[in-house]
């Protein structure tokens, strides 16, 4: 009896998010008395197998097929569905990233089983399972009971820390060739366009965020400069994208990007719940706000009470002075 973790990878390098799913999967497999297996799909997947053993996978299913050249939610979902049917997996788990949730939704539709997205805890039981999942992007929790023949879940991104297994598992590689219909090619990535290389909002060690208090598109100049000095990027609140000051790809929040930098410098951001859930995984938060009562100030570890238009240039000057 097994628990199957769907792992994402970039040309053989395991995605950080999948390491979270593996850490969650190891403890769930132990409490449910299941053997943890992993599946990797597509080209270059085999080189991820060694890492998967270190993370506790007893068997690594490597799925390959002419149609699995790049990510395709339907082709991946169909592949995992066929593997679940042939391996008899009782639990299927992925990290609750865009891809993870999408692929598991496809598996759920095909198996006609419930799918519980973005879980924080999963308690196995002989009967119904008890699960706590996130709603509202993480500002509310929902306890659900689950009645299912196959348990399909994703673990909320950033809810668990990646960790390696106490002792590596066998990691036996098992080739899997799904039977895929040519029509599934319609939803495989047809083209990729790279706009920026290097640090991005979701991976940057420093994010300098601006909200309504910045006041205009032009006034983001000093935020850009500060982010540049610290090797980071600029983020913004929903009010800013709604005003057309920054592109939506810069938006931090429930309907934008989830960030997890070493520090988030939130300037002129009041801290509505939708913004907070996108920023709460930051290791440190510094709020700069004229309003000492602002939500963001209350939730931040550190704060400066003042006008960001004066404070940020002063920080830039001080960094330049110390660096000589």
């Amino acid at each position: 009896m097994s628990l199957l973790v769907i792992c994402d990878h970039d040309r053989g390098k395991l995605a950080e998010a999948s390491l979270e799913a593996l850490a969650f999967g190891r403890s769930l497999a132990t409490s449910a008395g299941l053997d943890m297996e992993a599946v990797v799909v597509g080209e270059g997947a085999e080189s991820a197998a060694v890492d998967l053993a270190a993370h506790g996978a007893s068997t690594v299913h490597v799925a390959s097929h002419e149609l699995l050249t790049d990510f395709g939610p339907e082709a991946w979902g169909e592949t995992v569905t066929q593997l679940v049917r042939s391996s008899g997996a009782e639990v299927v788990l992925a990290c609750g990233t865009d891809r993870g949730n999408e692929v598991v939704a496809h598996v759920a539709a095909r198996l006609d089983q419930p799918f519980v997205a973005n879980c924080r805890s999963v308690e196995p039981d002989a009967g119904d399972w008890t699960i706590t999942r996130v709603q509202w992007g993480g500002s509310l929790l929902e306890d659900v009971s689950l009645t299912a023949e196959v348990v399909l879940v994703t673990v909320a991104h950033h809810a668990v820390e990646p960790s390696v297994a106490a002792a590596p598992a066998a990691g036996v590689v098992a080739a899997f060739r799904p039977d895929l219909d040519a029509s599934l090619a319609h939803t495989v990535v047809a083209d990729r366009v790279v706009l920026t290389r290097g640090v991005t909002l979701s991976t940057a060690p420093v994010v300098v965020g601006g909200g309504r208090g910045v006041g205009s598109a032009e006034a983001f100049g000093p935020l850009e400069e500060l982010a540049g000095l610290l090797g980071g990027v600029v983020g913004c609140s929903r009010a800013v994208t709604n005003n057309g000051w920054r592109p939506h790809s810069d938006q931090v929040g429930q309907t934008g990007t989830r960030i997890a930098p070493d520090i988030y410098i939130a300037s002129g951001i009041s801290g509505a719940i939708q913004h907070w859930v996108g920023a709460m995984a930051a290791k440190n938060i510094l709020a700069i706000n004229t309003d000492s009562e602002a939500n963001m100030v209350a939730r931040a570890g550190h704060a400066v009470i003042g006008d960001l238009h004066q404070v940020i240039p002063a920080i830039i000057e001080e960094i330049r002075r110390r660096r000589g």
Binding site: P73, S139, E142, S202, G271, G306, V311
Partner: protein, 255 residues
Amino acid sequence: MRILVCVKRVPAPGARINVTADGMAVDSAHLGFTTSPHEECAVEEAVRLVGEHGGEVTVMTLGPAAAEEQLRYAASVGAHRFVLVPIQEVDWDPQRTAAALAGAIGDVESADGAFDLILFGNESADAGGFQVGVRVAYALGRPVVNGIKGVDIADGVASARREVDGGFEVYNLPMPAVLGVKEGINLPRYPTMKGRLASKKAEVVVDERSVEVGGQARVRLHRPVETVSETVILGTGPEAAPAVVDLLEELGLLT
């Protein structure tokens, strides 16, 4: 072309979300309601696409009778036809929701033919199940991709862009197709006064569905325990700059 958009009525929260005493719903006594953000953008995209290519936009929602408000909002920004799938409960589980929507879509399509494009929001703002659009697409036997922030239609193909770290992926789906779209695909327009007036006269078709419950049942909603930490005030105004830079140095970010 004919486009269907499925939307959800959700509370519009501010700084904090409270739960009713029985733990089964968000306490909306002091909250307004709105169309879930991704879906508001889906309606806008549909209106833009038929503006460019001709056709009409149908908007469907599964929700309480009050969700008619969200259908009328869609009317005020340019949608043409409206279907309400009424429910008595606070919310239906994702399987049940998808089965009801697939059935209601089947009703419309058997009378008028298949929609060229069906748009869902990537996930609802409240429950966030990340699955209803995929389940409906599978039930209808149509290709589907989520996370879409750009669509172009040409020669019966929907070319859809999905944002990924540092760029985007392109998918080419032959229509009829289904897309899960995300906020950022456009900036939704505000209703005009003329639109608001016209929306009052919009006819809402009610399609009641009887569908079995799915395997996921709500036990209760609760707020996460927040670790309340005292905020360290580093100073006031630009004089705080040295303390800020000290902090950045401490964190090893000034190398």
